[in-house]
């Protein structure tokens, strides 16, 4: 199966760690993905917020390029991108009039027959648990890990068709594969404030704070995510939140690909874990025999 890769803007910028670690583990797993040539921004939340048609047309270009390039499956590791690609694909499947307008504008046909996967779907569905398990060289035993899913991976369920929208478990299952202990808590799918990070920082800090303190209360050592937006809010804003609520958090936020990479025996540096704002060294020391702490 030819696998297309849609990185999206964040993975080339603020969340470069995600791309680095992702490509590293795919290399280890011996899985080849090809970046969609000349891909464009999916429009993220801005497009659907103020222009519905644009929010379908922008992702449609990427999908059409991939499909016409003979790909059967698209990996969109960014939760926001996968959400927009899936939503656009859904609209194109259900709204024939809009579909015609868009394919006319793009001058490309689109059959809407590809499977579009977020990172977790890709790992469980395309790679498979057995293969991942077989690559685990350094079990992360003793590490307590909270999986944070946020909104965009599971909602709206009728379009995402991924896991249980209230109690998702996919990421926890991946955490368990690494030998770490998944931590259950109450806010797995609560919203972190997402796109309003820049425009409403106070709101975002309140929401993100709720999530982080709940995770802390449930005894987690670190948090894993599969979304650059969640990562930004949980990682980049963590110091501010600590200052605002005057309570220490110290919760490193890793991408799920980084956690998997660690269990595969890849060094933290190769996984770009040092790119995060909240340093992970202290927590990673808990893992015995982890190579090359820094």
């Amino acid at each position: 199966m030819k696998l297309a890769y849609y990185p999206g803007c964040s993975l080339k910028g603020t969340s470069f760690e995600y791309e680095v670690s992702l490509l590293k583990i795919l290399e280890t797993l011996n899985i080849e993905v090809k970046e969609i040539p000349d891909w464009n921004c999916c429009g993220a939340s801005a497009a659907h917020s103020i222009n519905h048609n644009l929010s379908v047309a922008l992702p449609a270009r990427n999908l059409a390029i991939a499909e016409n390039g003979g790909y059967e499956s698209v990996l969109a590791p960014c939760a926001a991108c996968s959400n927009r690609l899936k939503s656009a694909d859904y609209e194109l499947k259900t709204d024939d009039i809009l579909k015609k307008k868009i394919t006319d504008s793009l001058e490309m046909p689109y059959k809407a027959e590809m499977s579009i996967n977020n990172m977790l779907e890709f790992l469980i569905g395309v790679v498979g648990k057995d293969k991942i398990k077989s690559m685990v060289k350094k079990p992360l035993s003793g590490l307590k890990v909270a999986s944070y899913y946020g909104c965009l991976l599971v909602r709206p369920p009728k379009i995402m068709k991924f896991d249980d929208p209230e109690n998702p478990v996919t990421m926890d299952e991946l955490v368990a594969l690494t030998g770490a202990e998944p931590v259950d808590y109450s806010f797995k799918t609560e919203c972190c404030g997402a796109i309003n990070s820049l425009s409403k920082p106070d709101v975002v800090m309140a929401l993100t704070g709720n999530i982080l303190y709940d995770i802390k209360k449930h005894g987690a050592d670190l948090v894993v995510v599969a979304c650059p937006l969640c990562h930004s809010n949980l990682d980049v804003r963590q110091r501010e939140i600590e200052r605002k609520y005057d309570e220490k958090l110290g919760l490193p936020v890793l991408f799920i690909t980084e956690l998997l990479g660690l269990s595969f025996g890849i060094t933290p540096k190769d996984l770009a874990i040092d790119g995060h704002m909240v340093a992970a060294d202290r927590v990673l020391k808990k893992i015995e025999g982890l190579p090359n702490q820094q």
Partner: protein, 660 residues
Amino acid sequence: MARIGVFVCWCGSNIAGTVDVEKVREEAAKIPGVVSALDYKYMCSDPGQNSLRNIIKEKNLTGIVLAACSPHMHENTFRKAAAKEGLNPYFVEIANIREQVSWVHEDKERATAKAVDLMKMMVEKVKRDKPIEDVRVPLNKKALVIGGGIAGIQAALDIANGGVEVILVEKEPSIGGKMIQLDETFPTLDCSSCIMTPKMVEANQHPNIKLYTYSEVEDISGYIGNFKVKIKKKARSVVEKDCTGCGECWNACPMHKNIKSEFNVNLSERTAIYVPFPQAVPLVPVLDRSVCLHFKKGGKCQKCYDACGPKCINFDLQDEIIEETVGAIVASTGYDLMDTSMYGEYGYGKYKDVISGLQFERILSASGPTEGVIKRPSDGKTPQTIVFVQCVGSRDPEKGVPYCSKVCCMYTAKHAKLFAHKVHGSQSYVFYIDIRSTSKGYEEFVRSTMEQDGAIYLRGRVSKIYEDEGKLIVKGADTLSGNQVEIAADMVVLATGVIPKKGSDKLAQMLGISYDKYGFFTESHPKLRPAESSTAGIFLAGMAQGPRDIPESVVSGSAAASKILGLFSKNEYEVEGTIAGVNEATCVACFYCQRVCAYNAISRKEIKDRSGKLVKVVANVNPGLCTGCGACVNACFSKSIDVKGFMDDQIYAEIKALAI
């Protein structure tokens, strides 16, 4: 040769004012086969009927047509008059020249032309009438009641008290249904078991009631008056007639852990041999073979047998099939409560202190797992704050059902009230969308829960419940103040929606009665025949028809019973003869008719010669079930089935009579 008489009624000036009745009469006289034509001022009057009867006699008529008012008015009158002269009553046809001519048209000439047309059509129809005999079905005066909840018990008692034998079949080890699980009942707060137990005992001891508990109806065939029923009596492993209900066996059972009590809705445990609750009727234990050590470990354990004084435990007992013939059936299979674990956001099943309304009933009940002291399941502490959430599963087309479960508003108010009575200084919060409290004393009851007992009502739904530091945080909305509300509760009670009893759709198929898309049995007519099913002889009662409360269930049980007593007041059941009939000579046994019949009235009939050799298979109409709708006629490719009174040749003749 047909000898038809035509009678044109004036209905005073009602008809004669707009229709030239003499012209109609003259036209009638011209039609071949019409030997007598007459017009008269009031055909329905005694003199009118007498002249009709005289002419039947004098002219030896083979059929009569009345050009008069609607057949819905006087068809029966004239049929009876004809029958008195020995004419088959179905040889009477009515041309409706009042409701559908003189009262709706004004031009006399044109109205008369139409009246003549209608008269001609009926003459052609009556010429082709075949004698029809009403069908009489003998009645076995015995009734079957399926389901021993309050509705079924009420039906059984009423029928039995009317002097008719009743067989009451209950799936569970004891009768009593859901009502016996309840604590006190709204709006009068009388204790459910206090009013229910005597009825259960009465049903058990009634000389006219034969009770089969731990039993299921396996098969039903036949029709009104003559249903053949197979009942599977599951093996109890206890010889009922010898058991004294002393309790030595269940006290001796070593399996007293990890088997959840169904009666206490998983809030307590039971043994492998058990009675569901102390007041069970009959007070005879059941041995649950799926968990019993004797059955799981190859016969080693027999502690119950050893403890039993009368030695009535018998591990070898087998399921029994009992066959009965009854004349009428009551389907009162009741309801289930929806499983609310699908609401991930509410955490039912995840958090121990998020419970269902029925579980709270058991906690309130003096015979329940906490002996009526309100304690929460997680740590046995008495909650100080309880949040009640209504409409969980109900009014939710996305995850649950779109309909209202009807009883939740009231039982939630009752729960809040009883909580206030039992735990002083406590506080309850009720999330609701609308309050439905429309029966006698209900609205006052809900108001007093708020005003006297201090329950705080919030108009809105709950979005999420999660645990935080030993409290359940309930995130809801109060749409009246326009606020998002968070309440830290010790316990949450979900008012779970009502759904039909599992398997009731299968039973409905077996009975040949219709049910709605949810599985509730549907009434023959929602307003005027609420106790009847779509099939003659099968009646409905209780929640199996849809959400209702106890008084309504009791009323419906009594209604079904009175229908059956009425039916049984005669020796035979009379079915109008205008039903379908099969021409066995031409039937090719394709059974398309069977597929379209909504009443299961068509069966296979084997025709054998004298030596018993099968000659052919044909369709056969069961007169007890056929209603004469005629759907089968159109389904028949070989034109071998027809409905009496509306035969194909008659309708073609009517059309032909109108030829221009």
